[in-house]
Symmetry: C2
């Protein structure tokens, strides 16, 4: 069996195990057994529905970097008419690109762990990535104390055969614009909060996007009103308009700075309440462990204009990038697929990383 | 017992009968018995929980105008600590001003129906006024065929000892401003419906109020955004903003005209869906049956800058005005009261109307 066939069938096997977020017990057990078969039961740690595999002893390969290969095992809810098959150079299945293909590459590398040179790799399979942030299994894994000190992490999310370093941070905030209540038949006795919001909405509209450069990479900071809501009955001039404002800030910026900037933009009349917050991921495109490899493999390097778990690693002080098989545009699609070319490309590039 | 005492005790008796909207059976039966005792059972018609009383035969007093005295018998939900007593020149009770005081004046006049000259009065007590429009008992009464042809109607809602002719009409419409959906991390790929609404919101803000004069009366047409809502998740640039827009139009204008004006204001990009509609009430302040009486009684005449059941009469071709005891500012208040002065004033003015 060629490596292409092996990777394709492994991806399809993984797709055939239902693993919607909050229902990962079955796939976690499957992955756990696969890890134990490859590296021995003593190498495997299960934390809830997350699985760690560390085949090398901690005193083996002294001086070599500890490299984490990281993937989530859950998927979003699957489409009803999702095909499951290998056809026309693609693996079809729910989660094929996001990110059963990445998990398949990780398992194929684990099957050959003794052949991976010049590093001491560890494998992290975690649950809950597609659900709300508080249910994400990676945080507890990083906090568990079960891992060795990691020098670099590859997150095998789909990256269209490129490297995507860093990621945006975000805050969500409720900005409340006040008004003065009145009967809607006598609006001149009040002040309409919806109209009072116009100057702030104009500022947001005109804010545009702000480029933040890291070497050749451009991240774009944006600040967007994504929801509007009033809470009065319909025959009343509203005394408050709530806007959800989403600030996406670039690596190097912080949630605190973003909040301060939003407060300045909203002005003292408005109430600003931050409801969610996630840090940006630091940019490690030119990290010494990968810079030469990126050049040699001629990998396109693209900024991650969204939030990913890269931020969890870099916030914990661990350099990390997104690099995985599959197609970003296929993530969460009905009829999702991953190309076998991308599987082979990612597997080959990582094999060569360990051989460098 | 003076007429002041009689009116005050009658108002308190009416307040002591629970009659929240949808629970009017008890008070309807009480009013029905009161009518039958005053005018004989043959004079009384019960329609659901509405009661009609027509003591004069239809061939009596030929050539005299048929005058309706009109009041609703229900109240809003009562406050828990509402006092029920006569104290300091006031009657305290749930619904005292809105409008048990008016019903008391109606019943006191009915007790003396033989003494009422120069007209053929009928009494209309109806249910469901404080609930949604579709439950209002006056519509079925007017449609029932049980009434004679009415020449003029006094609605005894509280009017602060003045006459309030006409009333505003209204439409509510949902105006949907379209946008183009995008991920909130890449808003430049979409078009934000909230920002797209700014020009329309500016038009509404600047619309101000439009005076419509009837003789000395000024009504003010207004068009107000009273609610804003989006329906996307918070990490998405919204592709639609729904505004509830309330247009209050003056007597002489129509819901159709108001809708056309709103559509022109919103422009062709927006979707306008009318969700509620009520006609304006015509203005009869200088009607020959009341013009001289208003002058002689020196009654202040004020436009009704809201909707009332006057519109149901004038839409049915029956001239009508609001004129009743009680205080408009007390309607729906906790601790509601009606002043005995206002009861005596209204009763006296209507007695003199029948004597003119």
């Amino acid at each position: 069996m060629t490596i292409r066939d092996e990777l394709a069938h492994l991806t399809l096997d993984l797709c055939n195990i239902p693993s919607e977020t909050c229902h990962e017990a079955q796939i976690a057990s499957w992955v756990q057994q696969r890890c134990a078969a490859a590296a021995g039961p003593h190498a495997v740690t299960r934390l809830g529905n997350s699985v760690l595999c560390e085949p090398f002893g901690r005193d083996e390969r002294p001086g070599q970097p500890v490299i984490a290969l990281v993937g989530h095992i859950d998927t979003v809810k699957c489409a009803e008419d999702q095909p499951y098959e290998i056809r026309d150079g693609r693996v079809y299945g729910c989660g094929a690109s996001d990110m059963k293909a990445g998990v398949a590459v990780m398992l194929a590398l684990l099957d050959r762990w003794r052949e991976l040179e010049n590093a001491r790799p560890v494998w992290i399979f975690y649950d809950g990535e597609e659900g709300p942030a508080e249910g994400n299994g990676l945080g507890p894994v990083l906090d568990s104390g079960a891992l060795p000190v990691i020098d670099f992490a590859f997150i095998l999310e789909p990256t269209d055969r490129g490297v995507q370093p860093g990621c945006m941070g975000l805050i969500h905030a409720t900005v409340t614009i006040p008004g003065v209540r009145a009967h809607s038949a006598r609006p001149w006795q009040g002040q309409n909060a919806i109209y009072a919001a116009i100057p702030f909405l104009e500022k947001l509209r005109d804010w545009g996007r702000r480029e933040v450069r890291f070497g050749d990479l451009s991240f774009y900071e944006v600040i967007v009103a994504t929801a509007a809501a009033t809470h009065n009955s319909r025959n009343v001039v509203p005394d408050a308009l709530d806007l959800n404002v989403n600030f996406r800030f670039a690596p190097g910026n912080t949630a605190e700075n973003a909040e301060a900037e939003l407060r300045a933009l909203a002005g003292p009349e408005c109430t600003v309440t931050v409801t969610d917050s996630a840090p940006a991921g630091d940019v490690y495109a030119d990290h010494p462990l990968i810079a030469e490899w990126i050049r040699r493999e001629a990998l396109p390097v693209l900024p991650k204009q969204a939030w990913t778990d890269v931020a969890r690693f870099t916030t914990a002080g661990i350099p990390a990038v997104n690099f995985g098989p599959g197609e970003t545009g296929q993530a969460h699609q009905a009829g999702e697929w991953a190309s076998i070319d991308s599987l082979e490309h990612c597997y080959g590039a990582l094999r060569r990383w360990f051989a460098q």
